[in-house]
Symmetry: C2
Subunit: 232 residues, 2 copies
Amino acid sequence: MAATDKALAGLRQMIASGELGPGAKFPPEPELCDHLGVSRSSLREAVRSLGALGVIESRHGSGTYVSALDPAAIIGRFSLSVELIPLEGVLELLEVRRVLEAHATAAAAARQDPELAARLGAVLDQLESTTDATEIQHLDAEFHGLICAAGGNPTVTALTDVIRGRGGHYRIFEPGADFDAIKQTSDRGHRAILAAITTRDPAAAATAASAHIAQTELWLRALRPDPQPALP
Amino acid sequence: MAATDKALAGLRQMIASGELGPGAKFPPEPELCDHLGVSRSSLREAVRSLGALGVIESRHGSGTYVSALDPAAIIGRFSLSVELIPLEGVLELLEVRRVLEAHATAAAAARQDPELAARLGAVLDQLESTTDATEIQHLDAEFHGLICAAGGNPTVTALTDVIRGRGGHYRIFEPGADFDAIKQTSDRGHRAILAAITTRDPAAAATAASAHIAQTELWLRALRPDPQPALP
DNA sequence: TGACCAGAAGTGGTCTGAGGACTTACGCTT
DNA sequence: AAGCGTAAGTCCTCAGACCACTTCTGGTCA
């Protein structure tokens, strides 16, 4: 087995065996090298690998630690790779978002939380009064994010956040001939979702969310050929 | 900005800008070091990071390449981290699987594919005639995997695969007092799913799949306190 | 002419050693 | 008791050397 792979397996084993739980500190690098039988270079490459996956965190001057192993945080690491996926793959991901967000929106509607409806309404008021693409994207993310969070499953929220972030690189709301029509359709979709949440109708909420995201999928398909995504 | 982060950003930018598409080859390491202004160690750590995320592949003696950037393959990389998530987080993930797999199962039922039903029936025949925990797990994965694949979205299949793989580390089917009852309930759940697919009833398929996975969630909850997962 | 094989060039993989940068904790001073 | 400087601990970066694997090239042999 290659040196880096050996180190990788050793580090994972230390976590999986329960020897080191969430937040625990690893021994210093020289000690780990000795324990795993690899050089410092190989060990560090293995640590970087697990760091990229959100399993390990290295803190300069302090030490190397097991992360919280929180599913939402780990899924958040997806954004580093998902942001590089071409449009073709983004459409597959959007189907995932559509299904998950319909579920979360229904769950949010089932809860009796008048404050949520009030906050969503405030966001939509802002959203409907702006034509700035960046602000639209930001407010749209806040609207959907609030709903998903109210759905009660942070993992679902993290997944939909990552996918929404990728889709956001494609600028649907560029000034152009269709801008007004697209904006109006989008605004109506948001109001339909809010109405279902306000009236506590989970089935209607799921349908409205699903339809809204399906509409986004259609707009994205129209954007082919694949434009270049903008990295943050 | 730290050296490794600088290299990481540079590599991602080369992909995001379209300079290097899926499958493209990076310049040799010394050239990249010069271009990015970092040492070879730092560059290699950055390459390992993107390698762990499934964005880059290094082939010994050949070169470093951009991966296919296929969403299913990228999601598959997450098994490395998901396998380390504690039970508490696995339950959140199972809700994701339940929702996605209900969707995929409905899609599979909507398709008119007699061959799928035949293959599923064969798998269930084997599954019902064994009591070996490892074989049960394997056949269960094949059953659900075939259905998800028939659903038509490889990304959904990859996600459910990863989550199912994590859940499989918890041995529900250990020989014990409840073994027979659990096995029978599980078998009945599978038959209900197959029946819905055979009769091409998407709604029934979604319900059956959702109920089946919800049952798994209940069994897992009963397993607390968290047992140690077994790495492959 | 074709297939096969050996060598050379190109490239990533690993190790070692050194010095720098940051965090943390200790002990001193006020 | 609070604040601060110092020292120890730890990770970060660089440089150079050598090894292992892949790929291509050229020659040899059937």
